[in-house]
Symmetry: none
Subunit: 222 residues, 2 copies
DNA sequence: TACTCTTCTTAAGCAAAACTTAAGTTTTTT
DNA sequence: AAAAAACTTAAGTTTTGCTTAAGAAGAGTA
């Protein structure tokens, strides 16, 4: 459980760092926006505490930048601002929550916990009769356990998490492989093939559709 | 997208109901805690707005009760309370968020949207009884799913996005095919033909008109 | 370190689907 | 009725995706 603190006032960041570490969280501190964006990308923390007022880039800008790449990690704004307009602006830029300075540490902790709730509770996502357990890293197809390699697992997970929406190959390469330039070889196709083969224990229904010229889509609505 | 409002003051609940419905949400209203719990169970709303002060059961108690059965649906507290201690108590009881009265409707909306983020906001555009879903890359004509190829899809999408305006062939070739010089062969006509054929499940109305000497126009203002 | 086993990636052949062209047909306009 | 524009069809070409197999890269173990 790593929390990234993006905050330029060392008084506050030290206070947070120490308090959070006492609670068993790991922490990293960035003292400006650019560093914050870099760390968010590199360390993939589970949650980000972001100060509104920062040197170089404002919190809003940092938030937007992070959200470009990463839509999921909760971002919690620390703000002295109190006007509705500015709060809304923060939320619009992609933050999940905000807390007004001065805040009690206890309140902050509760807020953080909200975002971690459901973390430990077995994450199971499904597609038709296929069930994948993110904690156990296991895949059940029609009740039968099937062996999946890491890549196969990641790919299937990505598709299921984006169920009902076409995923382009570039998008997949970017999100599953983490490659940020144009897709070339047919790796995805090969993995798709492997996944389908392994899942096709009962092959009546096609849960993973090929959308020719576009990409692939997981879909279990009928 | 159904939102359950648990609130005893009808002034506030009406205000919320009306505002949310204008935004396209469906709403239900419960005027006390017990009714709220019952509706939460029965209707399975996507989000719950819960007043702190309620007759019969307090908001906290309602929240806990709902959370016993349902760990996932976001619960958002509406509270006049402003003390840290009470806020914390609310969060501990399982709420995902809270907003202090008096609040601006705009702020509430943003808060609600946070919890709906990542939900597949289906991008659907329509032309008469034809419905195309950009995320699923699917086309429904009169409720029937029709198979479209990439080009056909792009072309139809382009026409619909420019509904009510004539699109010249050159414009189409430029925007759909990405060719930046003079149009020559009759490709567009061929595709138009294919599209019409596929869509003409009920052919009374001509949603795609030929404007002789100019181009084509999608139009559903009968 | 070397050996082994597993997983990942590349490349090539094949088949099917989609795209384009062109020629003949129909419709519209003058 | 003639000419122009649009429609339709079908055949040839190109693109795309599937599948397989072989070799590269990585992980684990002696």
């Amino acid at each position: 459980m790593r929390i990234l603190i993006i905050e330029d006032e060392t008084g506050i960041s030290n206070f947070l760092k120490q308090g959070l570490e006492e609670q068993g969280y790991e922490t990293s501190v960035a003292t400006d926006g650019l560093q914050g964006i870099a760390l968010a990308k590199k360390q993939k923390p589970e949650l980000i505490l972001l100060d509104w007022m920062l040197p170089k880039l404002t919190g809003i800008e940092v938030c937007k930048k992070i959200r470009e790449k990463d839509k999921k990690t909760p971002i919690l704004f620390l703000t002295a601002k109190d006007t509705i307009q500015e709060t809304i602006e923060g939320l619009k830029s992609g933050a999940n929550d905000y807390i007004k300075k001065p805040f009690s540490f206890e309140e902050l902790l509760e807020r953080i916990k909200i975002h971690f709730r459901n973390e430990g509770t077995a994450k199971i996502i499904t597609l038709g009769n296929i069930e994948i357990n993110l904690l156990k890293h296991s895949v059940l197809a029609g009740g039968q356990e099937v062996n999946f390699t890491q890549r196969e697992f990641d790919l299937l997970q990505y598709l299921i998490e984006n169920k009902g929406r076409v995923c382009t190959r570039n998008e997949i390469i970017e999100n599953v492989w983490g490659i940020h330039f144009e897709y070339d070889t047919g790796v995805i196709d090969v993995f798709m093939n492997a996944i389908r083969k392994k899942l096709k224990i009962n092959k009546e229904e096609e849960f993973i559709k090929t959308i020719r010229g576009v990409g692939y889509m997981a879909d279990d609505t009928h």
